[in-house]
Each structure stands twice: as C-alpha cells, then as structure tokens.
C-alpha cells in the first residue's frame, strides 16, 4: 500500500528528461575522430608527431589538475576536455617545435583561457587556438617554419638544425604582385597535385595536413551527432565560394581546391569552430558563425600579413557568439508574431 499521507510532491525545475550523453562521452568521440589525422601525421612526419601530441596532452592534463588542486576546486580532469585541448594545440603547431614551447602554450590555454574564466564551458575563445596565438606572437620563427615531410623522419628526433624546412602551400598563394603570384602558384601546382593536397603529403602544422583524414573524423562526429553539419559546411562552403569567385592566380577551380585543402581550414572547420562553449547554440546561428569564419579566413589570407587566417578568424568569430545567439534566439513555442510586437510596445 502506498503511504499517501506521507507521500511528498517533489517539485523540481526542468529539464526532467535527461539524455545519456556526458561531457566525457562527447570528448571521447572527439578524440576518436582526431585519431585518423594523428595517424596520418605520424606517417607524414614520423614518430615525433606522436610524442609531441603526447607531451601536449600530458601538459594540458597536468595544468588542469594543478589549477584545480591549487584553487581547491573539484577535479575536472576526468571529463577529458583537457585531452582534446592538448591534442588540438599539438595539431595546430609545427611538428619540430621544442617540447617546452608547446608546454607554455598548454599552460596558457588551460590556465589563463580556460580555468581563469571558470573552466569547461565558460571560456570565451577556443583554448587551443588562444594557445597557438600566444605561441605565434612569442615565437614567430619556430611557429612558422615547417618541416618538409620528404626529409628523413628520424632526423626530427635529433637537433633542430639539420631539419629541412619547406614552405606550406599557402605561402605559395600569398602575394600582391599578380605575375609573381601566378608563377609561384604554378610552382605549387607543379610540385603537389590536388590528390597530394587532399591526402596531405605537404608541409604544414602537425595535424592539419590531411584533408581526407580530417573529413573522415568530421563525418564521424556528425554521424555521432556530436557536431552539426551547419558550422563546417558554412565555413568550408564560404571559403570555397569566395576563392572560386575571386581567384588570385591560376584557374578558379585549382585556386579553390588548393585553398580549401591547404592550411588548417579542415581542422578548424570540423574541430575548432564547432567547440560547444565558443560557438552559437542555434543552427541558424551556426550558419552565420561559419560564414563569418569563412569570410575572415579569406580576408586574412588575401589581405592580411599572415599566410593562414583560420586561427584568428575563428577567434574573432568566437567573440561574436553572444551577439549571434542574441539575434538568432528562436521564438518561444506558442508565441505568435502580433504578441511579440505587443510585448515590445509595452
């Protein structure tokens, strides 16, 4: 018999229906999605890609643990978000930078950008990108010299001096003088075929080189419903349309393909721009966000002083997220337009 007299009505606020996803589960999916790119990085740059990623992940976990310990807050290392940050920061750095350098980036990303603002979900820009921006501003030389994947991979473990550095595809696509640009773009298309660009047998940051592997990871994330297709599609689509319409050299199609397969566009679009804390909530907002990222990327690549604009474009759009969210707020269920106007008039 139910004891009706002592039965209490427990009133709690919504949500009453809870999904089974956890932060840890989502982060696990993201890590799985990054593994193909990591595997390709090992194939392309040798084992140092793996050790670099491992050091970066260990650094992020350590700094997250340390901050939480020192500030006497509950430990949040087990949600795996620090692992993702560590992997991403390694992915956007050149493979041959010294280990201490990536640890400085880790410390900045985790302590200053993430934890000082309240930890997971409260950071206003992507921690890994902020870490990269700090490294780029502090160690411009190391952060912009890229290893030629054709050199002996074992040499990467040794001293840095005998490494052959190579220009990235994007640096062939930079310039203001049309004749010189046409020539260097011709060199690029001569050196690397579109297939090589797509596979990733090119110079560049550790995890950004292989468009194919990143697309595999991205499709996995979309299939697992970890990310929506809106942001990456809008981002890559905008860059593709703009570079197709306004090629600076060569044929429109060539220029477009080399633009979207070179540099960190795929990595940024699938793994950085889709970070929950720093991207809009609504699908409409995510479309706007992606278009904005694409626009800024092309503007920086065309008119800025850097070859690559993915990092800064995503960081700039991160700052617009509160506004995008504000103006794409869906209408409340049951509210019709005339009601809304009346409400505004009052």
């Amino acid at each position: 018999m139910t004891d009706y007299k002592n039965l209490k009505l427990i009133a709690t606020s919504s949500p009453h229906i809870r999904g089974s996803e956890t932060t840890q589960g989502i982060m696990k999916d993201v890590i799985i999605a990054m593994l193909p790119a990591l595997a390709f990085a090992c194939f392309n740059f040798g084992l140092r890609a793996l050790t670099m990623t491992a050091v970066s992940v260990a650094g992020c976990i350590f700094f997250e643990w340390l901050y939480r310990k020192l500030m006497k807050k509950h430990q949040s290392v087990q949600d795996l978000s620090a692992v993702v940050t560590g992997m991403l920061l390694a992915f956007v750095s050149p493979v041959q930078i010294p280990y201490w350098m990536i640890l400085i980036g880790d410390a900045f990303a985790i302590i200053i950008v993430k934890q000082l603002f309240g930890g997971i979900g409260k950071n206003f820009v992507n921690p890994a990108l902020a870490g990269r921006a700090v490294l780029l501003a502090s160690y411009a030389g190391s952060m912009t010299s890229w290893v030629d994947p054709a050199v002996n991979k074992a040499a990467l473990f040794g001293s840095n001096v005998d490494i052959v550095t190579a220009a990235t595809p994007l640096s062939y696509m930079k310039g203001t003088d049309p004749a010189a640009l046409a020539e260097s773009f011709g060199n690029l298309t001569g050196t690397y075929s579109v297939g090589q660009m797509f596979l990733g047998q090119i110079g560049g940051s550790l995890g950004e080189v292989s468009a194919l592997m990143l697309i595999i990871g991205g499709v996995y994330l979309i299939w697992r419903k970890v990310i929506n297709w809106q942001t990456p599609a809008a981002y890559i689509g905008t860059v593709a349309v703009l570079t197709f319409l306004f090629p600076k050299a060569g044929s429109s199609l060539d220029w477009m393909l080399y633009s979207i397969f070179g540099g960190g566009l795929m990595l940024g679009a699938f793994f950085m721009a889709t970070d929950y804390a720093t991207s809009p909530v609504t699908k409409k907002g995510q479309l706007i966000f992606g278009v904005g990222c694409g626009l800024f990327t092309v503007l920086i690549r065309y008119f800025g002083s850097y070859n690559e604009g993915v990092c800064y474009s995503i960081m700039v759009m991160n700052l617009f997220v509160p506004f995008i969210d504000k103006y794409t707020k869906p209408v409340r269920f049951g509210v019709v337009k005339s009601d809304k106007k009346e409400g505004a008039a009052k």
Binding site: W100, I104, I112, V134, A137, S138, Y139, A140
Partner: protein, 199 residues
C-alpha cells in the same frame, strides 16, 4: 596627521594602481623594462609630491569653481620641469619614455590626489601623501616591469638572464601588459580580502 596610516594606504589598501585603478594607461604602456619603470615612477613621485604641496598651500585662496584648472596649471608646471630635467640629464630614459612624460599632466593619480586629498588637507599631510602614493605607483610599475622584462624579454635592466630563445615575447606586447596587470590586481584583492578575514 597619521603617517603610518598614510603609508599603509599608499602602498596597500589605497594603492593608486591596484586598488584605485588610476594611471593605468601609463602603467600598461611603459612597463616593458625596469629602467623605464624606474624613470616613470620616480618622475611621477616627484611631480605628485610637489604638486600636492603647492595645491595644499594655495587651497584657501583658489575659488572652488576654477580649482580643476588651477590643479592642471600647477601639475603642468612641474611636469615641464621634470621633462626638461630628464632631457638634460637622463637622455636615454627621456627618449624611451617619449610622450608619456608630458602625458603625466593628465595622469589621473595626480589630479585624483589633488582633488581628493591635498585640496582638503594641510601641507605636511599632503607632502607625505604625495610620497607614499608615488611610492605605491612606483612599486607597482617595478613589479610589472620585473615580470614583463624577465619573462617577456629575458633580461633585467638590460642584462640577459634567460637565454634568447626562451622568453615569452607576448608579455612585452600590450596583451601581456593587460594580463600581468590583471594578475597583480587579482593578487592584491586576494591579499586584502585575506587580511580583512584575519581581523
């Protein structure tokens, strides 16, 4: 007149930069090397003390309505003196501080102390207020310079401490200025709240 209390206020509880948040512009701009910080800090200390004394001395004959204009005239006079003296005797410091020495005229610390302290207090108290507030400002500048020059450039007063490839260059950029200042303000607030709890 309570010199001990004034000293504590100037350095800690009413520190011009970390608690009153005055003079942040110059704090951010020039704290990239110890020598700059020392030059700027001492200049402000001298100007602040002299201006405090003069404003306190003439406070009874200055009409209320034009007092701000009077403050600026007095401050500008001392700033001009210090600017010329620096150019004459410390040419390198004058060159590296550049426009920030003339800009002391509009430094909020000096105008703020004139308005809130020396216009209402006697000459003696104003003199010590100038010295202690100036000291508080100088110490914060030196702390920021120390952190930014050591970690950002790897040197201290021009001597190399950390080998060239290691320093975190971003700390010498404006971003680093905001970061270091933020950390110092946070540390100060934390220390002040701790000492309040203790009481």
């Amino acid at each position: 007149m309570n010199i001990g209390k004034q000293l504590k206020e100037g350095l800690l509880t009413q520190n011009p930069v970390l608690v009153q948040m005055l003079g942040l512009c110059s704090t951010m701009a020039i704290t990239t090397s110890i020598m700059n910080g020392l030059g700027m800090g001492v200049s402000v200390l001298i100007i602040l003390t002299a201006a405090n004394v003069v404003i306190s001395a003439i406070r009874k004959i200055v009409p209320d309505k034009i007092r701000i204009a009077m403050f600026i005239v007095v401050i500008a006079g001392f700033v001009t003196c210090v600017d010329l003296l620096l150019q004459a005797f410390f040419e390198s410091i004058a060159a590296s501080l550049g426009v920030f020495i003339p800009l002391i005229v509009v430094n909020c610390i000096i105008l703020g102390r004139a308005e809130s302290f020396s216009y209402k207090n006697g000459v003696g108290a104003s003199f010590f207020d100038g010295i202690f507030q100036g000291l508080g400002y100088t110490l914060v500048l030196l702390a920021m310079c120390f952190i930014r020059e050591l970690l950002g450039a790897g040197t201290l007063a021009g001597f190399r401490i950390i080998p060239e490839q290691f320093p975190i260059g971003i700390l010498t950029l404006p971003v680093g200025g905001f970061l270091v200042l933020g950390f110092l303000i946070a540390a100060m607030q934390w220390a002040l709240s701790k000492s309040k709890e203790g009481k």
